[in-house]
C-alpha cells in the first residue's frame, strides 16, 4: 500500500494556534527571530561603540550587576567571550557548568534557574544541549535569558557576530542594517546543517537583510525540507557550483556528538565538501571564509584555508566579544532590576 496524504475534500475551519507568550522579558535574546532589523542595527551600533570605548569607562556600565553563565555543554569561544563581555561592562559573573554543580545530582533546569535568581542573578546566559531549553528557563525565571546555543536549534549571538564580520568585509562603514543591506550577497553554509544551530540562526537572520542563503551538504546532513525554515533559503548540493556563486562561505563542523548513530563516510565527505585552497582559488577567490568553530583541520577545511588570507575565522571570534557586550548590555538595560 502506498497511501499518501490526500487534500481534504472541504475547507475546514480549525482551532487557531495561540499567540506565543515569549519573550517574557524584553531583555531576553532567545532567537534571531525575536529581533527587529532596528534591534539588530542597535546591537551592531552598540557593539561598535562598546568596542571602541575606554575600558575603564565601559566597566562602569554594568558595574556590580550580576550575570550568570549556565553551561550544559562544553564551550571555548562562546563561554569565554560572554564572560569577557559581561566583565568588560563591569558585571560580576558566575559560571555554573553541568559537570561541577547540582545539575549532576539531578537538579532540573527550572530549579537551577530559580536558584540562580535567588542568588541575585539578573540575567542568565544559557548553553544547553536540548533545543528549546532557553524558553523553558525564561518561562521559569522571567529573567532576561541569553541563548548561547540550544541543541540543534539556535545560536543567535553567533549569527549576529557572523553578520558583523560579513558587514566588515562586504559593507565596511555600514551604520545600520535594512532589508536590502545584503542584496546581491550569497552566503553558502556548508556541511552538517541538520545538527547546526549556527546554520539555523544564520538562515533565519541573513535573508532578512537581503542575502540569499545557499545550503550545501549531503542528504543525511541536509534534509530537503531545510529551505522551508524561511524565505531566501535554497539548497545547492554541488559544492563547487555553490562556491562559484558565493561572496561568503560558512563551513561547519560535522557534529559527531549529535550524529545519533548516523554513519558518514568521511573520505567521501571530504571529496565532495572540503574547502581546499584549490577550490577556493578556482571558484571563490574573493569570498570571505567563515567558521563558527571549533574547526577540525583537514576535515571540513584544510589548514591552509583556515590560516589563509580569505579566512575571517579569528575575526569572528573577536567580534563575538563586541556583539556579546551589546546583548548583555541590552539584557540588563531594558530591565531595571530583578523580575
Amino acid at each position: 500500500m502506498n497511501a499518501t496524504a490526500q487534500p481534504a475534500r472541504r475547507q475546514l475551519n480549525s482551532p487557531p494556534v495561540p499567540p506565543s507568550p515569549f519573550p517574557y522579558n524584553p531583555g531576553s535574546l532567545l532567537s534571531v527571530q525575536d529581533l527587529s532589523l532596528e534591534a539588530v542595527s542597535h546591537i551592531l551600533a552598540r557593539a561598535n561603540a562598546l568596542e571602541g570605548m575606554d575600558p575603564l569607562v565601559r566597566a562602569r556600565i554594568l558595574a556590580k550587576r550580576r550575570v550568570a553563565l549556565l553551561f550544559y555543554e562544553s564551550s571555548t569561544r562562546t563561554r569565554t567571550s560572554f564572560e569577557l563581555a559581561a566583565k568588560g561592562l563591569g558585571a560580576d559573573t558566575t559560571l555554573v557548568s553541568s559537570l561541577s554543580s547540582s545539575i549532576e545530582k539531578g537538579e532540573t533546569l527550572k530549579d537551577t534557574g530559580l536558584t540562580l535568581r535567588a542568588l541575585g542573578a539578573e540575567a542568565i546566559i544559557l548553553r544547553h544541549n536540548s533545543s528549546g531549553a532557553p524558553w523553558l528557563l525564561e518561562q521559569s525565571t522571567h529573567l532576561p535569558v541569553l541563548n548561547a546555543g540550544d541543541g540543534m536549534h539556535e545560536h543567535p549571538t553567533q549569527a549576529l557576530l557572523d553578520l558583523r564580520t560579513i558587514l566588515q568585509h562586504l559593507r565596511p562603514g555600514a551604520e545600520s542594517v535594512a532589508a536590502d543591506t545584503l542584496s546581491g550577497v550569497t552566503v553558502t553554509i556548508v556541511g552538517d546543517i541538520f545538527h547546526s544551530r549556527v546554520a539555523r540562526s544564520n538562515m533565519l537572520l541573513l535573508p532578512r537583510l537581503g542575502a540569499r542563503v545557499l545550503l550545501c551538504g549531503p542528504k543525511e546532513l541536509l534534509p530537503e525540507i531545510a529551505p522551508t525554515a524561511g524565505p531566501g533559503i535554497a539548497i545547492e548540493r554541488d559544492f563547487e557550483a555553490a562556491l562559484r556563486q558565493s561572496q561568503v562561505v560558512m563551513m561547519l563542523r560535522i557534529q559527531a556528538e549529535r550524529l545519533a548513530g548516523m554513519q558518514i563516510d568521511l573520505d567521501q565527505y571530504k571529496a565532495s565538501y572540503q574547502l581546499t585552497g584549490q577550490r577556493l582559488a578556482a571558484l571563490a577567490p574573493q569570498a570571505v571564509v567563515l567558521h563558527p568553530g571549533p574547526i577540525i583541520r583537514g576535515l571540513e577545511l584544510t589548514a591552509g584555508v583556515a590560516d589563509g588570507p580569505q579566512s575571517a575565522i579569528l575575526e569572528q571570534v573577536r567580534n563575538g566579544v563586541a556583539i556579546r557586550m551589546a546583548v548583555v548590555e541590552r539584557a540588563l538595560a531594558t530591565h531595571g532590576g530583578r523580575a
Partner: protein, 431 residues
Amino acid sequence: MTALLIRGGHLIDPAAGIDAPKDILLKDGRVAEVAAPGKIKSNGAETLDATGLTVAPGLIDIHVHLREPGQSHKETIATGTASAAAGGFTSVAAMPNTVPVNDSPEITRWMLAPERGAQVRVFPIAAATRGSRGEAINDFAALKAAGAVAVTDDGHPILKDGIMRETLAAAARVGLSVIQHAEDTRLTQGCSMNAGPTAFKLGLRGMPVEAESGLVERDIRLVTELRDARVHLHVAHTSTAAAVAAVRQARRNGLRVTCEVAPHHFLLTEEHVGLYNTHAKMNPPLRSAADRDAMIEAILDGVVDAIATDHAPHAVHEKEVEFEHAPNGITGLETALGLSLRWLHREWKLPLGRVLSLLSAQPAALLGLRGRGTLAAGSFADVVVFDPRAEWTYRAADTRSRSRNTPFDGWTMQGKVRWTISEGRVVYTSA
C-alpha cells in the same frame, strides 16, 4: 436499590435508533424502562429533571492511562475515574503500561478490586507480551477470565512479525481484540515531535509518518495472512492520513480492522507545539495540517470507529522540563465531549447522534462491552445527561484528575455535563 427517573430530556441512543423526547427509569443498576414523556410513574423513584437536556448512553473511552499500579503521583484509579465521570464517561479501558506492567491476572484483578475506589466501570486492557517486551506472549485466556477486554503492548509496539502474528492468532482464539500503538520505534529513536518543517525549524528530531503507517500496513498484512475471521486488529490513536487510508482499504477487503482517533489529533497540528510547549507533546505526535484534516475526514466519512482520549496524566514537574525530556501525553477525559461537540458537531456538522455513537455505541461494540453504549431496557444504567448547547471554558485547575497536563486549558467547550450516572449511581453532578 433505589430507582432513578430521568424526566423531560431528549434521549439520543444511536444503537437503539432513538432520537426523541423520552423518560427513562433506572433500577438496580439497569435500565428498567424507556417511554414517552410522562408515561413512567415515579413510584417514589428519585427524579432528575432533564428538561432541555440531552440524555445519552454514558460515554466510553477505550484508551486511558490510569497509572495504577505504580504511578499514583500522576493518577489513581479513583482520581482518573472521577475525571472520567466529570467528562461524562461511565466506562474506561485502562492501558497496561503501569508499574509493573499489567501482564498478569493478579494485576488485572487488583485493578478491578473495590478498594481502588473506581467511580465508573474500569475495563483493564492487558499486556500482550510479558512485561510488554515483545518477546513472550501472555496467557490470554487467563487474562480474559480475570477481566481483561483486550491486549496490547501500547507504548511498546510489537515489532517482530512472528510475535505479532502469534498475538493476533492467540487473542482471536479467546475472543480478545489486539490493540496496536502503531509506531515503528526503529524509526523514532530520539524523536520528540512529527518530522517535517516545524521539527527542522525547532531543531528537534522528527518521527516520520511512515513509522505509524508502515506498522499499520505490516499489521494488516499479518491479519490478511491469518485468514481467520475472528482476528480483530484495533489501531490505537491513528494520526496520519496514510494509516487511515490503510485501515480504510483493509475494511474494503473485509478485514476486521478498526481504529480510533484522539481529539488532539483531529484538532491540533504540529504548529501547536509553538515554542516547545510540552503540553503539545504526545505520541503519536501532533502532525501536519494535512494529516489533521485527514483525521476529520475519516471521522466524518465513517472510517473511524471511536473517539478515544489517550488520557495520559503526568505531574506538573514532569512536564516542566526540556521538550526532548518531557514525557508524552495529555489528559483528555474532561474535554473529549466538549471538544467533540464544539468542533465535530458544531463546526464540521457531524450529527449529534454520530458524535455520541463514536463516544459510546461504537467503542462498546469494538471491545464487546455487552450492555454498554446503549440505553435499551436491560442495559447497564450508564447515562450521561448534558446540555448540548451550553458553552463553557475548561479550566485545568478545576480538574478531578491528579494531573493537569492539557493543551486545552482555557478553551471553549460546548455541551456541559449535568449528571453522569454509572450503573444507576449518580457519580457526577455539575455545580
